[in-house]
């Protein structure tokens, strides 16, 4: 049991670190794009004109969403365990639900952007 917990905690830590590395690149590209995109004013048509039907933006934001869905719930789980007595399977379940929700909302947003 202790060994299984140790393995799970180690892999969660690794997943959060690896997703953080991906997010560092994604956030940098995202921010640079924002700065570039607002140079000539900001309109929905302009954004959608750039993203609609683009395989590149589909791939980029898909990776971004997956990285967020891995990274954020693990961090929230850590914060909950530090700040509250909540532990165990119910917290792990809530963490999984948070990950699924982030994937769902993220995909919905991507659908609006590139669909």
């Amino acid at each position: 049991m202790a060994q299984r917990t140790a393995r799970a905690e180690t892999l969660l830590w690794l997943a959060q670190r690896a997703s953080a590395a991906v997010l560092a690149v994604c956030v940098a590209v995202h921010l640079a794009t924002i700065i570039y995109a607002v140079q000539g004013g900001l309109t929905a048509e302009e954004i959608l004109g750039r993203t609609r039907g683009s395989a590149w933006w589909l791939a980029f934001y898909s990776i971004f969403v997956v990285a967020v869905a891995v990274h954020a719930p693990i961090g929230l789980r850590t914060i909950v365990r530090e700040m509250t007595p909540w532990r165990g399977a119910s917290l792990d379940g809530a963490t999984a639900i948070a990950a699924i929700a982030l994937i769902a909302f993220g995909w919905r947003a991507i659908g609006g952007l590139v669909g």
């Binding site: 202790a2 060994q3 917990t5 140790a6 393995r7 905690e9 180690t10 892999l11 969660l12 830590w13 690794l14 850590t78 365990r81 530090e82 700040m83 532990r87």
Partner: protein
């Protein structure tokens, strides 16, 4: 001309208590432990505190001095006094027994929980083991081996204050020295012990332990080493 004095505020009581004020004559090369001892011997013999060696070896006399955990026998008053005032409290993150003495039980129990005991390999030779002084493992163990168990790092660690189960910097640093001990035969069990839900992965790398350690050790670095070692073990299927 009147003698120069130091204003001292000392925590009296247990978890519930108050600071009481004292005045102590200044002396050359006076340490914070000298101040506490002077008060106990000259003003109030009921003042409780803990010390033994007085030379920075035993790790008994750690207290919170002006909000910072320190070894008081090697802390000069001139270094920490502000406006000729020093505030002395018990260590944080450990239950106060009385005045400046804290209950260290949880601190040392965590050394045991983190696998802090050396376990010789089953095929240990009868002769002395030869460990190359310049090997990577030996140097990593050397870097953390001088811990005196004073609990200054444990007291300064915010993660301990948030999560009372967290093993803490000293216990994890001890585990790291053993992970690098080539004579040790309990590597996998030890890595499992330190990688639980209140182990090395809970560390935020804020480095308070490194900042406050009176021996200038780097428990944060040791914990980072444990994180890497546990990941490698998990990847290989050993964990």
């Amino acid at each position: 001309m009147s003698e120069a004095t130091l204003k001292v505020r000392i925590w009296r009581g247990a978890e519930v208590g108050r600071f009481e004020a004292y005045e102590v004559p200044r002396r050359t090369s006076q340490t914070v432990l000298d101040v506490v001892t002077w008060i106990q011997r000259r003003i109030d013999p009921t003042l409780s505190y803990r010390f033994a060696c007085r030379v920075g070896m035993c790790g008994s006399c750690a207290m919170t001095v002006n909000g910072v955990p320190r070894w008081t026998c090697r802390t000069h008053v001139t270094k920490v006094a502000r406006d000729d005032t020093v505030t002395i409290a018990p260590l944080r993150n450990l239950p106060v027994i009385k005045d400046l003495a804290v209950d260290m039980t949880a601190f040392f129990d965590k050394w045991a929980r983190a696998g802090g005991r050396f376990v010789p390999k089953a095929d240990a030779p009868n002769d002395f083991a030869v460990v190359a002084p310049d090997s990577q493992e030996r140097r990593a163990a050397d870097a953390g081996i001088e811990c005196i168990g004073c609990a200054v790092c444990y007291s300064g660690c915010d993660v301990v204050s948030w999560n009372g189960d967290y093993l803490g910097p000293a216990a994890l640093n001890r585990a790291w020295t053993l992970v690098n001990d080539v004579r040790d035969g309990a590597r996998t069990q030890r890595l499992a012990a330190v990688a639980g839900d209140a182990g090395c992965h809970a560390c935020h790398s804020q480095q308070s332990c490194r900042e406050y350690c009176p021996k200038h050790l780097d428990p944060t670095g040791s914990i980072a080493g444990l994180k890497r070692a546990t990941v490698r073990a998990a990847m290989k299927g050993d964990l």
